[in-house]
Symmetry: C2
Subunit: 337 residues, 2 copies
């Protein structure tokens, strides 16, 4: 019972299923891939994979379909990056030439990504210029835990709990708040890190450590607060990829219209070492997205804003990851010039 071969079988199942959209059985597997073994052996492997919960049979005795965990295992095994095809290079080239203002670049980028992946593409728009710090609030929660709240002029309220080394007295908290507020009020969000550092220097020595922790929390909040808009393209792909309507697209469209939900979803994603974040099916805990996956990454200075694609769990993860990464890199390069 070779562990490696079993995973190879899983890979084959996922790839076949993604393309055929139909449960894949041992026979088909034998034809399309040259694994060096017979159908019976594959069946045994499949039985084991099913025990592990990586694949399931929709009904007794028809082919297997990957489960969410199956996709997850498959995705985690992807390491190599497919290089860009020449068609993609050409598309990107065309994009460069038509470049107008920044908003237009973003708009075109998201369309491009939708076209490359045949999926819904989404992109967070960072808006430094419009938004300034309106208010800051600090609330002691005991044991050094302190709630930091940042309110932006765009009405967004972001909060986070900072863990200080030791508890801070209420009066000191007020001092810290006054110092931070004095330094940061009406600052643009991208100025927060610099101004916060400045504000720290005016603090008494005893509060420096606590202030630094709070400033760090504020910096991270300001990054989140800076994206408050989304552009999207390719919703038609959603309908097309789904003409067999295995999943109803209605709830997905509803979720996509709730920009607040989308913003939060994207902000939550943590980009893994390979440079992308992948959320599969119910790993997205949002209503309506139980049967969809998200592949995204960050772009721009400090990778503050995210760009990615959203599609049915049965998607071509490998291609999507490559396309998202390539587009994000390209976009970062454009924006920095």
């Amino acid at each position: 019972m070779s562990e490696a071969r079993r995973l190879e079988v899983l890979r084959a199942i996922v790839e076949d299923f993604v393309h055929s959209r139909e449960p894949v059985g041992s026979r088909m597997l034998l034809d399309r891939h040259q694994l060096g073994v017979s159908a019976a052996t594959i069946r045994n492997d499949m039985a084991l994979l099913e025990e592990e919960g990586l694949i399931v049979a929709p009904h007794t005795s028809s082919g297997r379909v990957p489960t969410e965990q199956g996709y997850r295992r498959f995705v985690d095994r992807i390491e190599d990056v497919r290089p860009l095809s020449s068609a993609e290079r050409r598309a990107i080239q065309a994009l460069i030439e038509g470049a107008g203002d920044v908003d237009e670049v973003l708009e075109r980028t998201v369309r491009l990504l939708a076209q490359l992946t045949n999926q819904v593409a989404v992109l967070q728009v960072p808006q430094f210029s419009n938004t300034v710090v309106r208010h800051i609030e600090l609330v002691g929660l005991g044991e050094g835990r302190t709630l930091v709240v940042l309110i932006g002029s765009n009405g967004k309220v972001e909060q986070r709990v900072a863990q200080l080394e030791r508890d801070v007295a209420e009066e000191d908290l007020q001092v810290l708040k006054a110092a931070l507020l004095g330094g940061l009020a009406d600052s643009r969000l991208d100025e927060v890190p610099a101004r916060a550092e400045l504000a720290l220097s005016s603090l008494p020595q005893t509060l420096r450590a606590a202030g630094a922790s709070l400033a760090a929390a504020l910096n991270s909040l300001s990054e989140h607060s800076v994206v408050d808009k989304i552009v999207m393209a390719g919703t038609a792909n959603l309908a097309r990829s789904n003409r067999d309507f295995s999943l109803s697209i209605t709830p997905v469209l509803e979720a996509l219209e709730e920009q607040v939900v989308l913003l939060r979803l994207l902000s939550e994603l943590e980009i893994d070492p390979r440079g992308v974040a992948v959320r599969i099916g119910r790993e997205n805990m949002y209503d309506g997205l139980e049967e969809t996956s998200v592949v995204a990454t960050g772009y721009g200075p400090d990778k503050i804003a995210k760009v990615g694609v959203l599609g049915p769990t049965r998607m071509d993860y490998s291609s999507s990851m490559a396309a998202v990464r390539a587009v994000a890199r390209y976009l970062s390069r454009i924006l920095s010039s």
Copy 2:
């Protein structure tokens, strides 16, 4: 053979079909509506209506379905406006209270409209502030016909043929162009009418009449050029109303993503005396919209921008017209304060 009753039968067919989504036969018609006649008479009327091309039978001997012309006749007969329901009043009330900046008002309005009608709502966003006149071109076409081209700083190019009383020499055309360009270059689009009038006064007497005609054309162009963005809501309704997928929503979603197409479509609409514009099925000459209808009207100062809904030809025109009109009125009132 009473003409009035036949139209009444048509009305009944349309209303029933809109709600049931199924071909409606003489029996059903007799049950649900109290027309004072028997099924046989209705059948005779239906035969006549079919001859007129207002309804068709999908297959020999099953109920009738309205044709596009049938809907058209039905819509044209609508005169009375359904008053707003209390639910609608409440929804609008809720909207008022949350009013933030103008963009947010528009955003909320379009969502409201989508919710009220259970359809896709679209709204043109007028942008006076951003856009200025970049260039004006005049081209003589002979017999007094003159092509007027207006190029805005947003890159939009609008053109129209103006009919002058008599032919103007090429040199005079250059004089007119210089005068208009001098007065209008870098004007904001909403200032065009005033500035154009001013520019006319510097013209020699002989060119006054021609100049006035050209200025009128420019004014109308500037109105068109001022809208270059669309906000949309309720695409999920499209999928929902269509879960029986009588029309594939893919091409519709594609058309909706082409904002340029949508902008042109809305701009073309001519609002009829009742205060709304209705385009049914193939009256929209755009790919993908052959089986959808648009109900829209203008809003804001001079009704420059349009707001409306888009849905399957089989839609509740009466409600849609009422909702669109009410929302547009309300929106105009808000914006003027």
